[in-house]
Symmetry: C2
Subunit: 191 residues, 2 copies
Amino acid sequence: MLKTEKRDEIIRAALEIIAEHGFHGAPIAMIASRAGVGAGTIYRYFANKDILISVLYEDIEDRLFPYILQGYDSERPVRERFLHLGKALLQYFIENPLDFRYVEQFHGSPYGAALRRDRILGARENRDVFHEFFEEGISQQMIKDFPLTVIFDLAFGPVLYVVRDHILDVVKLDNVLITKIIEACWDGIRR
Amino acid sequence: MLKTEKRDEIIRAALEIIAEHGFHGAPIAMIASRAGVGAGTIYRYFANKDILISVLYEDIEDRLFPYILQGYDSERPVRERFLHLGKALLQYFIENPLDFRYVEQFHGSPYGAALRRDRILGARENRDVFHEFFEEGISQQMIKDFPLTVIFDLAFGPVLYVVRDHILDVVKLDNVLITKIIEACWDGIRR
DNA sequence: AGTCTCGGAGTGAATGTTCATTCCTAATGT
DNA sequence: ACATTAGGAATGAACATTCACTCCGAGACT
């Protein structure tokens, strides 16, 4: 019944190594030894490396969305909700830099390009939260009338770049700065 | 005297293949055949693949900056200059999608991480234009007072994401939309 | 209770492939 | 003729994937 345990170890190890060394510098043998399993074992859980890589990505989304939705209240005013979503996103990646590094590499690579039509952050059930939120904001005339995709880019593009800088240690983010940044994002999309 | 010619072919071929298939799916043999040269020839021009990859990146910057600076007039008002820079950046990548795909992959990879402290767009002489521009904008109280890095993220993060969407064909950008987008970026950073 | 059998999870050495790089020969120019 | 440049087969290293084997626990049998 401990199936999950080994599988989790493999996923954790793969995340660590790929985030740090890229898809390149992450041979199966290395992942296996970091996970404390035999190389062959990985193939008992994942048909091949590509599939491991995709599953890993979905795994991150499955942790990210619940985190963001914590304390999200769709009854609150638009601006307040935006600040919540933006901050939560920023915070999640700051707290989980490996996830960020991984997502970043994944998106830039051909693996990620396969996700094409699916929006940058998620395409599962949860995605609807963002969807609905922005659509409501637009119809309430609180948010500029752009295609949804563009609104995403305006709203969260800066957030992701700021996270990168924080991880690369070129900015030091504290709570005050974070709030100011998300407010600036809001200025970008609000009417 | 045709030294340059073969070299350019190699660079072009490498750009095409890497942009499309990633650093992965771009074996030297494939680059060579696309360039119409022998595999060994590549090594007459580039010591190894890593160096080819870095040179390729620098090459892109060397084309990007002159393009952006065309018609840039540091005497014009801050807002106007910002609109110029933003549009030019967007336009360059729309016109050169391979360059964009390449830069994107490069940044997300460990190669790019080596550029750490160097700012996201350039670290050569030209970089100063952006530098100076934002510093001036801040001291004139036209632009919000954030660390320079953050200003970059707020200003150009959205632009790069929009370009990605355009290339992935999830938005259709026309001149009107482009202008509106850059204006929204301005709203994000202006006081 | 003790012994035996079976099945499936786990292993890592062996395999075959893919690749960057080298190096010797051919071609080209001077 | 000589020097320089190009070519691409040959080389060896690195890697993903496979597979023959080990190990272990849960039943079955005595």
